[in-house]
Symmetry: C2
Subunit: 328 residues, 2 copies
């Protein structure tokens, strides 16, 4: 594309005359200037983590490199530098090499993935688990698929749900109704107002990261059950921190079996490994894998998975938890 003439004040929009030029560069520059003016332009800190020195790291800035303490990490427990975690990664690289080698359809399902999915299903007491390559995609793909596949489905979404959940619901094109944050009574009223024969899905989080408050999971599940609604719980800020085995708030409070789908992550508390994961849970009768494998079976999309080493690390963490019980 040849360089476009600079016409800074040229508006973008319909212009019926021939020979017009459009200055995309100037348009985007104006948009960015607006972001800068509003303080919303993001500059990423160039950080170099130091194995064994958590939470210290090197910060590479315009005026040189200095040592800093990272106070805003997702590596809550420092597991990303746990010697056993790193040893397990070294061993997996030596054994299998780097990378999955393909999507899950074409030779990209490594035995490590299979073992990890089994271990995660066991952790949550469910029939199956399914890995995604980010928590964002897990929420997006699962909610959009579930709600889209159920004819006439209505999704009840906590008003403070994460953007990935909102986008997934939006993508399903199902009707979405929001209920007041953590308010089981409001959810009950809104469910009661709906045709009882419609399929329904209630989606919420356990720990809300911005406010730090915790959902009344049992109450919300009971209300959902009374109205024959499925439930979807995002536990990304709780797995690894709560529950006898780190299964999250639902495990801590004994509500795991009330939930239809649980989504978690390996990227935060368990250890800040490279990748979050999703747990898709089929809570009811055999065959237990129904919901879990539907997402792949649908051919919605398939990602190369990246959890080559995680089952080993995961065991390490569970071992640590069982032995010390130090985190809850």
């Amino acid at each position: 594309m040849k360089p476009l003439p600079i016409i800074p004040d040229h508006p973008i929009g319909p212009r019926p005359n021939e020979g017009v030029v459009i200055n995309y560069e100037a348009f985007f520059e104006r948009q960015l200037s607006g972001l800068r003016r509003e303080g919303r332009y993001r500059v990423f800190a160039d950080i170099e983590r130091q194995a064994g020195r958590f939470p210290r790291a090197l910060h590479h800035g315009p005026h040189g490199t200095r040592e800093v303490t990272v106070w805003c990490s997702n590596d809550y427990l420092g597991m990303g530098q746990h010697p056993e975690v790193l040893m397990a990664m070294h061993a997996a690289i030596d054994r299998c090499g780097a990378g999955a080698g393909g999507t899950r359809n074409i030779s990209g399902t490594n035995d490590y993935h299979v073992l990890l999915e089994r271990e995660l299903a066991d952790l949550h007491g469910t029939g199956a688990a399914l890995l995604f390559n980010s928590g964002y995609m897990a929420n997006w793909a699962t909610l959009s698929t579930l709600a889209a596949r159920l004819p006439g489905c209505v999704v009840f979404s906590d008003e403070l749900n994460h953007a990935s959940m909102i986008e997934g619901i939006r993508h399903s094109r199902a009707t979405k109704l929001t209920f007041a944050h953590n308010d089981a009574a409001d959810l009950d009223r809104k469910l009661a107002a709906l045709d009882p024969g419609l399929p329904k899905l209630v989606a919420f989080e356990s720990v809300y990261s911005m406010d730090g408050d915790i959902a009344p999971i049992g109450e919300l599940c009971d209300v959902a059950s009374a109205h024959t609604a499925m439930t979807y719980l995002d536990e990304v800020h709780a797995v690894g921190l709560y529950g006898p085995r780190g299964g999250g708030i639902a495990e801590r409070d004994g509500h795991s079996q009330k939930l239809t789908v649980i989504e978690g992550t390996l990227a935060i508390s368990f250890w800040p490994y490279m990748i979050p994961f999703s747990i898709t849970v089929d809570q009811a009768a055999a065959p237990h894998s129904s919901l879990a494998f539907m997402f792949w079976g649908e051919g919605l999309f398939v990602f190369p998975l990246m959890l080559l080493y995680t089952v080993v690390n995961y065991s390490v963490f569970l071992g640590k938890v069982r032995h010390t019980g130090e985190h809850y």
Copy 2:
């Protein structure tokens, strides 16, 4: 949620009577049965790659484990088991530990990411590059953001474009027009029929994976330029295989500078590392980072990035290519 009564033939849909139950389990089981009947139910092969034995691997099946040759890998060049790649991964783990430790906003921008983005920008001769955690997300986020930000934008999409591009365009809610596959004349006709003052974006791939054919990049860019349209090229099946430095078909044919945005991957030819990446290119005037950083600046979403080791590997590969010239 309490177990729901099994009513296999109960249809899901509006039913005005109270006391109805909805058998989600039976519904999804019927859907899965349909997939199985049509041969579309996917079963993943449980594969264990063997470092140093590419393309041989172990296959774990219901009747035991046996050695197989993987013919359907994305690891085109076997770089996932290249000794220098694995050595670089070991070194990075020893130096920084595992994981990014956060999203890019919160201490998750590792120095390795920054160095890799610089190297990728240099490879494509562009001002900036931006990493995503999958090729799917790169296409989805970039196309949806670009098309959504430009008021009245019309996107021209090759009829064989990948699902991730189609979803991104759909998410932008911009008008989408398809043009005949690899047909510059058809694109020209359709662009000519449009109000010349509208912002336009032409999106296509270089190598189409299902048919293996190659786009006439130069012609498509010339047509786009004549109608003042931006261009977006998906090079995921070409980077690492074509061009003097592995920059893809655009580099091989000398068209890199004609493109507005190029998207590539680290997951296929370069080496089947855990993660694809995206290159977002701002092709025009300074500051070169405009488009690239817009996606983060917009706050659309931020992922923990996972490319902790890739810049080292990338250098290894480029070195290999320069020394042997064996792949093109």
